[in-house]
Amino acid sequence: MNFYWISGLARHRIIRLAGATFGVAITVALLACLGFFLASSSSSMTKRAISGLPIDWQVEAIPGSNTKTIHDAISKAAKTDAIHEVYYAKTTGLKAETGGTVQTTGAGKIIAFDTGYLKDFPKEVRPLSGTPDGALIAQQTAANLHVGPGDKVIINREGLGPQTVTISGVVDLPDADSLFQAVGLPAQAAPQAPPDNVIILPIADWHRIFDPQQVVRPDTTRLQFHVRLNHEALPAQPTKAYVEVAGAAKNLEVQVAGQALVANNLAARLDAVRGDSLYATVLFLFLGIPGVVLAAALTMAATASGAGRRLLEQALLRVRGASTSRILSLSATEAVTTGLAGIVLGLAGAYLFARWGLSINGTASGAVTSAFLAALTGFALALAAVLLPAWLSTRQETVSAARRTVGRGSVPLWQRLWLDVILLVASGLLFWQSASTGYQVVLAPEGVPAASVDYKAFLTPALFWVGSGLFIMRLAFTAIAANGPILKGLVSPFAGRLSETAAASLSRQARRLTLGIAMTALAVSFATSTAIFNTTYNAQARVDAELTNGSDVTVFGTIANPAGTHLEDLKKLPGVVAAEPMQHRFVYVGSDLQDIYGINPNTIGSATSLADAYFTGGTVSAVLSSLANTPNGVLVSEETVNDFQLKHGDIVNLRLMSASDNQYHAIPFKFVGIAREFPTAPRDSFLVANSEYIAKVTGNSADEYVLMRSDGNPTALAKAVRTTLANNPALQVKDVGMATHIIGSSLTAVDLSSLTRIELIFAVILAAAASGLVLALGFNDRRRDFAILTAIGAKPAQLSAFLWAEGALVAVCGTIFGLVSGSVTAWMLVKLLTGVFDPPPESLTVPWTYLAIVLSLLIASVILAILNAGRGSRESVVEAIRDF
């Protein structure tokens, strides 16, 4: 019996089966894709975050300590992959005689690696020329001494005579900051620049030359253990990995107390990305879950569209004596069939999409778990959509009630309780609360192991989404059921002289139409909010990149080697729109060492983009004008203003280094404004002042940086700048594309990119399906009604008028409501996820092309549904009328 039933449905009710199957399939596919993505993303998060880290731990032995004890303690403290010894020695200077001239340098460092070091830490040294088997000289040192492979260099030792080595190769030290970092300094200590002069010796040579120095000046040599931990053993979540790594390092410090100091580079990196990883999780919840909810709702709506026919069939079965268990058994067969078909189609689609569309390569177990959970959800959804209504109808419906397809109906409970308004108000209150705390959804204070996510914040968009969906239903229902001018106005262009009748007909179907409008609105809202959020994020990433890099192209120099000396040459390069010098010095604010930037406020805007969001309490022009009008004015970062309780107009004494005696002296500045962000500046604490004033009070007018605006191709301009500055390799040239790449490879950016790709594609499908599928199933369910119209004389054009009026009502109202709801949701998401943006956007960026595609497909699906319903011969009219 069940087999005959389902085969009959397949022959005569294929659209109904296909609709429910599609709903289940799309839910399963979306859920599985998200699962694959989440499994892949979370399993590799720590790995991705630390992949570029050259050295995990640097453990520095205190002179005289037992190195074997330290080595053993390291092995005991954590699972390690490699432990190597690195020897450091100070030199008072280097000397070389080439081409008949003698070049000398200041102090430097001579280092040596033990055997196998470069195999385990290959990123520390990048060979540039020569061979790696002898003394290697750093690129900048080679330039200073004018030496290359085969040349001899004299190393001056502390307290001993010089030694000569022959250079076998020139190398770059990409990780010099870490390699030469001072281990054991407090966190607040000023950053130490790596040495300008470095030579790497074979370990035997180092011992031969510096073992004697170690005896006479033990304070000038040191030994470090460079450690690579076993990354496979670390937790996948950076937050947990941070706690584990920080704990292991502290354990080591206890074990080797008084013998060694630990620099925990790995924990520092994990600490920095903890917030990023938490935001990646937050993004999943904010952007991923609504898609699944929408797909499930679509399945329910799709089955509800055919509910009238289904209830009628059940009623007829009851009339013919079928027992409740028999009816439920038949419904269960339909549910299982649609469920299984939907699961197979959904998983196949998800696999193909994940494999070819997203290039997701997660673990097999993660993928299987995701697929299993998605299948389980799809099966439950099929049961809920098909079997549950059948069960409820057997308990409640009478046969005659089941025959009703229109009905005046009663007002739903949620509408009587004003649940929609309550949800919207609650969402508003939660949003206001989030706003009052500065939208801090993720809290991961630097150096503090505990990190938290304000999951309450998720309720804000969720309540708004559901509330606005219900509110849309209330508005649409009221307008349609009233059969007033709004409905007639909407129907009139499509129904012509039948508009009165069509509007009357639609007003009787307000409940059904409202469901279609709400589904369309939610789908359009989902697509709109996801797309606007993603586009705004990408636009802001470009702003962030420029903020990080300073401008399209920036030349970074130092006070000893300022980029500003090349300003005139740089201005003449082709493709330069503007080039602007900028000072970068260090200044003491109280005991804090901070960055200070010296600018010309009147011209800085020509070479870099400055947004109002960078400043507090005024627009860019107002703040810069205030600075320009106050020669000793200074813009202070928000954090410093709060820390030092500064008030507008206060005189602030800052200690700047004077060129005359290389000592820090207190200089009075006037606090004229707050800067939240500034090109090239760090996020937390910095100052901006007039360059003329800084030059005057320090006696040094050097401009360390040059910011350059290109006419469209920053990469090409950067290349030209590098060529121009080839004779000064100490100057660093960076273009905005490099910063974009770094920002784009952060955990949040990577996750957001994959997640939104899934969301945007499914949003298009859901938006098209929401209106087209619901309409098509509704039309199919009322095939007999349209047959009646045809039988009493409706011409195809007149029948189309009814169909077009209904289609237009659903598509137009759903789209308008959806665009409004989606825009508000996107605005809310951007505000709540402020932490993802750096700096926060001033306005939303609307992806017009994507929205046009979504709306075009939506309209196409509505047109298809209408054309399909309008098809059919007069013979099928008779069949349809008999089909009762």
Partner: protein, 228 residues
């Protein structure tokens, strides 16, 4: 007179193909004529092809073989809504419109009726259904729905009404009263009636009776006495 002939068929047959590949002959060699003002009863056992014949005569279904013409009405596409109307055996009111709008619907579809609302109201009053005007079809009993369907068929003044068991859900006294009204309205509008029925009383009140048996029309000549 040829212009009196509303429908004429010549050797019409209708076959239906079944799912198993075989076909069934529903109508065999039907030749008949309906003239203006005729009152015809179509009788025969269930499954004899009564509904199919009515659908062919009304232009809803095309015959497999043979010819159907509507000399006084025009071509097939012009029959509905103003020239031929149907009253179906199963409920056939448009569920999303109230009764008044349902009755007015043929006039709205035909166009040119500025008074469709009042004419619909008058027709409902004629059939004693005025108090149902604002109700929805699903709020009506089966008998009420059949009477409304007949009112809807007659309101536009068609030349021919084809009614399939229009009194099937009415008690005999209500059926008689209802039929009286139908005859009056049809008479006033010059409408011919072909009523398929199992009720011999109803059939007896018609001018002539066509007997259909296993797809064969036993009597189809005009102005003959009933075969029984």
């Amino acid at each position: 007179m040829t212009n009196d002939i509303l429908v004429e068929t010549g050797n019409v047959a209708k076959d239906y193909n079944l799912a198993d590949g075989t076909s069934v002959n529903v109508l065999i060699g039907i030749t008949c004529t309906i003239r203006a003002g005729d009152r015809l009863a179509l009788v025969g056992p269930s499954g004899s092809g009564k509904s199919t014949l009515m659908h062919i005569l009304g232009g809803l279904v095309e015959p497999t073989r043979g010819a159907v013409n509507w000399p006084a009405l025009g071509i097939r596409e012009q029959l509905q809504p103003s020239k031929v109307q149907f009253v179906f055996q199963s409920p056939s009111l448009f569920p999303a419109l109230n009764i008044a709008r349902n009755v007015a619907l043929p006039m709205v579809l035909a166009g040119g009726f500025t008074d469709s609302g009042s004419r619909a109201q008058q027709m409902l009053e004629r059939f004693g259904l005025a108090d149902l005007a604002e109700k929805l079809p699903e709020e009506l009993s089966g008998g009420q729905a059949q009477r409304v369907a007949m009112a809807r068929a007659l309101v536009i003044g068609p030349k021919l009404v084809l009614a399939d068991e229009p009194t099937g859900q009415l008690d005999s006294s209500t059926a008689n009263l209802f039929l009286e009204t139908v005859f009056e309205v049809a008479q006033a509008g010059g409408t011919a009636l072909l009523v398929a029925t199992h009720d011999s009383d109803i059939a007896g009140r018609m001018d002539q009776r066509w007997m259909l048996d296993r797809g064969v029309l036993k009597t189809s000549q005009h102005k003959l006495e009933s075969v029984s």
